[in-house]
Amino acid sequence: MKKSVFFTELKDALMLEDDSINESTQVRLTSLSTLGVIAFIDENFNKQVKAADLREVKIIDDLINLIGPENLVA
């Protein structure tokens, strides 16, 4: 997935109102945005993550590491 598309779609999944997000944007997961991220990762990367996998996610870069940076292209 192209990194620019990733950021745009992840912003919706996280239900963030910021104009744009990047690797260092902080992530505060609520119960609903957690569902959003689980669905986003399943749909786009065919990877099933659990709540425990997301517990350590503090910034977008942590999510990229969870998905695997090799799955994103510039």
């Binding site: 997961l29 609520t30 119960s31 609903l32 957690t34 569902l35 689980i38 669905a39 399943d42 749909e43 099933q48 993550v49 659990k50 709540a51 997301l54």
Partner: protein, 332 residues
């Protein structure tokens, strides 16, 4: 020869909890957001002295107004909020409904998959010539399990009951089932205390989760994200396998009804299974997630509104607490 669903009725308790009331109680909770994401505007809540079997009694009374009660030869009650540890609440219901004495009665402890399991057992009873007309009652009062300060679960779950009569039929109208269980998921939807493993503890201290919901092991706990992951993993293959087992594909099915858990989850599951929107029926706005009764309530509403019609093939799928899941295809 086979079995069919003859009729369905349901009952919802009088007291209503709407999203504005929830926002009044929890000002940080946005009513519009609840409706948008969860798909629920109102849910019904049983009175303090009203049990699941009381709700089941009312649903059953309604259905027996149009069905000869002497023809009922088995009663099954599916609930996780029984009146007593013993006797089975189905026995209490048999007496209250003045059903015959020479009939079978049993409770089944299942949640969101309970209607599917109830249908499977009913079909088995009929096809093995044990029964001709099974009264299947699904009744739940999760509100009594939920902590009053647990806004997430109070937003999702509603109380209610449904009564379904499954009868002998010259043709098979309840097709093959696909059932599944994974008890390793038990901790993700559980009332930990109150049984014999962990007795009720009035001194158990409240804890808070990251969304500010109060948790207490005497009350219902649900790990929503893990339940969501479980459904993503299990429900699409469940739909595929029940279609395959019955020799159907999605084109030969008129409607799909999922257990009405919450809109967000169901939208995603529908998309993942590539179920066309016009073949998909959703009904939770006015009732919330009534656990084992969501499927019969949705079926009844769709029939009442003439959306699902006689002759239609409907795929039903239930999934949740246990983990437990099941699906079948019925002909209306």
């Amino acid at each position: 020869m086979g079995a069919k669903i003859s009729c369905i009725e349901y009952y919802l308790p009088e007291q209503i909890l709407d999203n504005n009331q929830l926002t009044d109680e929890f000002p940080e909770w946005d009513a519009a957001k609840i409706n948008d994401k969860v798909g629920i505007k109102r849910r019904h809540v049983a009175a303090a002295d009203e049990t699941a079997s009381d709700l089941g009694y009312k649903a059953a009374t309604k259905i027996l107004e149009g069905f000869d009660k002497t023809a009922i030869d088995f009663i099954i009650l599916c609930t996780q909020s029984p009146d007593y540890f013993l006797p089975a609440s189905a026995c209490v219901l048999q007496d209250k409904l003045k059903l015959r004495n020479n009939i079978g009665a049993l409770d089944i402890n299942q949640g969101c998959s309970g209607f599917i399991y109830g249908l499977a057992i009913s079909k088995g009873l009929i096809n093995s010539n044990i029964s001709k007309n099974v009264l299947l009652v699904t009744a739940e009062t999760y509100s009594k399990h939920i902590h009053p300060k647990d806004k997430s679960n109070r937003s999702i779950f509603g109380d209610g009951a449904a009564a379904t009569i499954v009868s002998f039929s010259e043709t098979e109208q309840i097709h093959e089932f696909e059932l599944g269980t994974d008890g390793s998921g038990m901790d993700n939807l559980i009332v930990k205390r109150g049984g014999f493993r962990n007795r009720h503890d009035p001194f158990e201290k409240d804890r808070y989760d990251e969304s500010g919901n109060v948790l207490n092991d005497n009350n219902l706990f649900m790990n929503g994200p893990n339940i969501f992951s479980f459904t993503i993993e299990k429900v699409p293959p469940l739909v595929d396998s029940v279609l395959k087992k019955n020799g159907f594909d999605l084109n030969s099915i008129d409607y799909v009804i999922y257990h009405q858990a919450n809109k967000y989850m169901l939208d995603y599951l529908r998309k993942k299974s590539k179920i066309p929107y016009e073949k998909y029926y959703q009904n939770m706005e006015e009732t919330g997630n009534t656990v084992s009764s969501t499927l019969p309530i949705a079926l009844k509403e769709s029939l009442k509104k003439n959306i699902i019609k006689p002759g239609d093939k409907v795929l039903l799928a239930g999934f949740g607490v246990g983990y437990s899941w099941g699906a079948t295809i019925i002909e209306i």
